[in-house]
Amino acid sequence: MTGRHGTPPDPGALAPPSDGGRNGTPTAKAPRTARPRTPGRGVPLLLLAPALLGLAFLLVPLLALLLRAPWRSLPEQLTSPEVWQALRLSLVCATAATALSLVIGVPLAWLLARTEFPGRGLVRALVTLPLVLPPVVGGVALLLALGRNGVVGQWLDAWFGITLPFTTAGVVLAETFVAMPFLVISVEGTLRAADPRYEEAAATLGASRFTAFRRVTLPLVAPGIAAGAVLAWARALGEFGATITFAGNFPGRTQTMPLAVYLALQNDPAAAIALSLVLLAVSVAVLAGLRDRWMRTV
């Protein structure tokens, strides 16, 4: 007679699956409820004071802009067709730059997050370089690369008759150059946090790597992509240095709002403030709208 008394305690209880709680796996045992705030304990002053200072530091300049805005002459300032031309160009170019960033930036982020290749660390560092590069230098670099005489640009000109500086396409490229790293970093981070085993699961179901990326990974990291896209869009909308350096400044073609603001600042600060308010209002409206619609988790 033998007994089965030796069975160890329920292994499920002893060794929960290592990834059981990740990524909304249905078996996640810990409910994701917010930890209730401990009653009777305030926010420590050492955190509160700098936090409020930080908030004020960000908000006071914006407030000052509102307080000193030439409200009386505002309608007149804003009815000029140039303003709307610049605004429309800004929105079109920022959106196009975001789209371009998505098309080439998301695959780049995937490459950085999901594949191993020599020098990947270096590549990642290079991708983030435009973040630290002064945008004006970025503009010069773009001229040296894609200008009429540039390393690549001379061939574009010679073979296809394409010259990018001083064109709207040039604005889009300049904005993409500056804004795409935000998207890549954001998406790469989300991809790293996402469980790669979902891709394995897809593979065992017959999905090629591309299908797995498109049908599984992409939807899983959609919030991160949305956040990255919004960051990139906002950055592109405010882009000045690289744009004016690479694409120049011509109303209706390459003069975006930041350029219009800067030039107005030279001899008509009131007009500059008025233009800035328009840009602010539009970006706040767009970002708030997006946040409500599909960025709840961000």
Partner: protein
């Protein structure tokens, strides 16, 4: 942009001056204890000069001479767009001397009562066409700039070189559509230096400063748009003695010689 006469040696001090400007703009009052010269003596201490970007080469040379002539003095420059500098002065930046690239800009400072005495014109500048080295497109006049296929950049009309170019073009009766209205004269020049544009209408001094990267073409209509460069002592100068001495050097025959060497015209 802030530069000092002895660039490598003065980095820190320059940074300090820049910080002082920022502080002053923020509304804090900077007490210039270490910057004021002792009254009655010869010039000493630091003299802070806000000067139009186009004056950079000439003024840097003059700053070095000034320090040599008056041991114990330091000249700190802040070069930039005249309007930006004027805004800084209006905001309370602790500058001693302001040298602007246009009388209109100087007037905004004078109107606020921020200059000591009336400004005087110390040099003038006129326009030239900057072309690629060797002038491959054979540009000889303003009219040539309107040739089809030619990429021309102008300064934006909101900045002095743009306003001057507009005056000259109007005088010449030339209707010109550039590829870009650049935010300042250096950007316009850079576009030609990088061969992205075929020509730009800029100041003579800028063509000179660019060396052999561009070639200058004079044109008669530039006489219609000559820029006067006024210089003034500032009302709230922390170091008026040294400031006065620096203005004197700029206006002296020696100063004029340095500046004309950089392409400026005598007033």
């Amino acid at each position: 942009m802030t530069r000092s006469a002895h660039r490598p040696r003065r980095r820190l001090r320059t940074a300090g001056a820049a910080a002082a400007v920022l502080l002053a703009l923020g509304g804090c009052s900077a007490s210039g204890a270490d910057t004021s010269g002792s009254v009655g003596d010869g010039p000493s201490g630091t003299v802070t000069v806000f000067a139009a970007a186009s004056l950079e080469e000439g003024f840097t040379t003059l700053g070095e001479r000034f320090e040599k002539e008056h041991p114990g003095t330091t000249v700190t420059f802040s070069f930039g767009g005249s309007d930006t500098l004027a805004a800084g002065i209006s905001g309370g930046a602790p500058a001693d001397v302001f040298a602007a690239a246009s009388t209109r800009t100087m007037k905004t400072v004078t109107d606020e009562g921020l200059t000591a005495g009336s400004p005087s014109t110390f040099v003038r500048n006129r326009l030239e066409i900057a072309t690629l080295p060797g002038n491959p497109r054979g540009i000889g006049s303003l009219r040539d700039l309107a040739a089809p296929g030619l990429k021309v950049v102008l300064c934006d009309r909101t900045v002095p070189c743009g306003a001057a170019a507009h005056t000259a073009l109007t005088a010449a009766g030339v209707d010109l559509t550039p590829v870009s209205y650049e935010q300042d004269v250096k950007s316009a020049l850079t576009k030609v230096a990088l061969k992205e544009a075929d020509a730009a209408v800029v100041y003579r001094t800028d063509v000179r400063a660019a060396g052999d990267r561009v070639e200058g073409v004079e044109f008669p209509e530039s006489a219609e748009a000559v820029n006067d460069y006024p210089i003034a002592l500032l009302e709230n100068a922390p170091n008026p003695t040294a400031a006065k001495a620096f203005v004197a050097l700029v206006e002296s025959p020696e100063g004029r010689k340095v500046l004309t060497g950089a392409g400026f015209l005598a007033p």
